[in-house]
Structure formats: C-alpha cells, structure tokens
Amino acid sequence: MTRPPFPQWTAAAGDAAFTDPARIAARAGRFERTIRRRNLIEYAAGGIVLVPAALAALAAAWIGEYAFALALGLLAAGIVIVLRNLETRAGNLERRPEEPCIEHLRRQYRRQYEALRSVPAWYIGPFVPGLVLLYGTVTWKSAEALGWRAAIEGMAVPVFATIGAVIAVVALNRWAARRIRARLDALDQLE
C-alpha cells in the first residue's frame, strides 16, 4: 500500500467496524435457511405443474386411453428433467467470492453462456417426445371421427404455434448467449 491519492477518501468511515462475530454467524445461518426455503418453494412450484400432468396420465390410463397416458407421462417426465436441469445448469453459482474479480465474473458469464446456448437440449428437448406423441394422438383420434384432412387442418394451428414459440425461445436465447460471449471475449482482451 502507498499513500492514498485522496486523503479525504480514506479518512471517511474511519470508525467503521465489522459486525460482531456472533451476530454474523447467526446471519450466515439465516441465509442458509433462506436458501433452503427458496429451494423448497421452487420444488413446490414444480410440483404444481407436475402433479396435474401425472394425474391426467393416470386418468387416461384408467379409462384405457394408453396413447394419451403415455404422452402425458412423457410430458410429466419432461417437467422433472427440466426442473432438474434448471437446478444444475441455471441455478445460483456456488459462492466463491474469494477468487480474483475477473475470474469471478468470467465464471458467471461462462455459466450463463453455456446455459443459454444449450437451451434446445436441456429446456426444450425433454418436452419434445411428449408433445409429439400428444399432438399425434389427438390427430389420430380426431381422424377416426372426422377424417384425416379435417384432423390435420384442426391441428395445424396448435402445431405451428408450438413450433413458432420454440423457434422464438431458441432465437432469443441464442441472441442473449451471443451478447454474453461478446462480454467474455472482452474480458479476455482486458488481461
């Protein structure tokens, strides 16, 4: 350390002190409890989506609609996989604030970049088998009653709307990933 460039800067807050260790240990404990509670809430939110899909699959099986049951079961499995992926890929980083500042920032950017870039694999992919089977089953059941032409015409709007939404999600995430990649490249230029 050398003489500070502005004595007034370093003269400020001269009487500041660290929080008492007992209080800070209690606060650290509260923080961990908050994280656990937040995780529980996220699991509960996932359950709210998962339970109806699973119940619908069971109900379909109960009445003998096995194709629907399988499709809804696959959708429920997709929800489980995506929730798990959200936790492992897009959740909070392990806190390691003692690393050099540029490494800390680079690790955050890299994790965000990987998560955004691979959205089709970990966020959209798990829903594809269930959705394909669900739309196929609905089309097939409609065709039995209305004929294939009417069934396909009826399904065109939801299918294309789904495909459009998927393309939009992938494009937005790719765009965000490119912006983070540019920031990562800029960090490499700094060193």
């Binding site: 350390m1 050398t2 003489r3 500070p4 460039p5 502005f6 004595p7 007034q8 800067w9 370093t10 400020a12 807050a13 001269g14 009487d15 500041a16 002190a17 660290f18 929080t19 260790p21 800070i24 240990a25 606060r27 650290a28 923080f31 806190r95 390691r96 604030p97 003692e98 690393e99 050099p100 500042c101 540029i102 490494e103 800390h104 920032l105 960090l187 700094l190 060193e191």
Partner: protein, 179 residues
C-alpha cells in the same frame, strides 16, 4: 476451527472495516442499502474464511470477497445508471449532491458517481486505487495484469487532471501510487 475463523475475522475487521464501509457507500448511494451491503460483505467474508489457507495475503482475500460481493449486489439491482467503459468517459459525471462545497469533496463525490457508472472491473480498480493500493496488489486482487491496471488508473488521472492544479510537490493527490 471456529476460533481460528473468528480470529481472522477480527483481524480483517481491525484492518479493513473502514475500507469495506467506504466501498459499500460508494457503490450504494442509499445509506440503508449501503449498510445492508456492508453486512452482506461481512457475512460473505465470515463464511469464506473457513476456506482461507494462507495462499494469498489476508488483504487480498478480504478485498476480493468485498469487491465480488459488491459487484454481485450491483448486478442484482434492477435499476441504476447505464454502464460506460472508462475509455469512453470524457469527464467526471456530476455529483449526486449539488450542495457539496469543498473542492476535493466535490471531486470525491464525482469520483464515487463515476465508480457507480463504470463496468465492474474498471470500478474495482479505481476503488482500490483510491484506497492507496499499488498496481501489483490491485492486479493480484482483480486478476488483471499490472499493465491493464496502470492503463485504467492513468485514464482516471487524466479525467482528474482538469480538476486540480499542476502538482507542486510530492503532496500531489495522484502521485506515488503507481511508481
């Protein structure tokens, strides 16, 4: 183990509590939020000290934790001034407090405002320079090269030069930091 952590924590507090308070008050203009951030840094430091093995100086460890926690805190904030890289800033931004009278105080307020508007690594370098840290130490804390640190400090000195007379002696406010 707990005793060793407490000892390190108290030692860090003796040496760096004012610097951490200044950091919190620089990145957070609101006094209550600055106090919250200060405690968040204390808490992160307490938790991190269980991993301290003496591979770097306590000062390096404390500053890394403090600056990373402060930067994460700023990144979480929904609102704030747009970030502008140091090389694109032509002059010091206006201070938040127009009532300030003393010339140096005014410049310090404007420096604090500058720090709030800089990208996080630029801001970290400038705050550490204001604390009187050497380029070598700033480089170790931030992970930047000494050259990159020197470039940033030079830019701030250039920004500041219009606010001060030519240095008359070794009392120059910007002298001696990066020899």
């Amino acid at each position: 183990m707990e005793d060793a952590i407490e000892q390190l924590y108290r030692e860090a507090g003796r040496q760096f509590a004012p610097a951490i308070a200044r950091l919190a008050r620089t990145v957070e203009r609101d006094a209550d939020r600055a106090r919250d951030l200060e405690q968040e840094i204390h808490c992160a430091l307490w938790t991190s000290l269980a991993r301290f093995r003496g591979d770097c100086a306590l000062k390096t460890w404390v500053y890394r934790v403090a600056h990373n926690v402060a930067a994460d805190h700023v990144a979480r904030a929904v609102r704030g001034p747009a970030r502008v890289p140091l090389e694109e800033i032509g002059e010091l931004p206006g201070a938040a407090n127009p009532e300030t009278e003393a010339a140096e105080r005014l410049v310090l307020d404007r420096l604090a405002e500058l720090v709030r508007r800089l990208p996080r690594l630029d801001a970290q370098v400038i705050v550490l320079w204001l604390e009187g840290e050497r380029a070598r130490d700033i480089a170790e804390i931030t992970g930047l090269s000494e050259g990159a640190v020197n470039v940033r400090v030079y830019r701030v000195k250039t920004l500041l030069s219009s606010h001060f007379d030519e240095p008359k002696s070794d009392e120059s406010p910007t002298e001696g930091v990066l020899s």
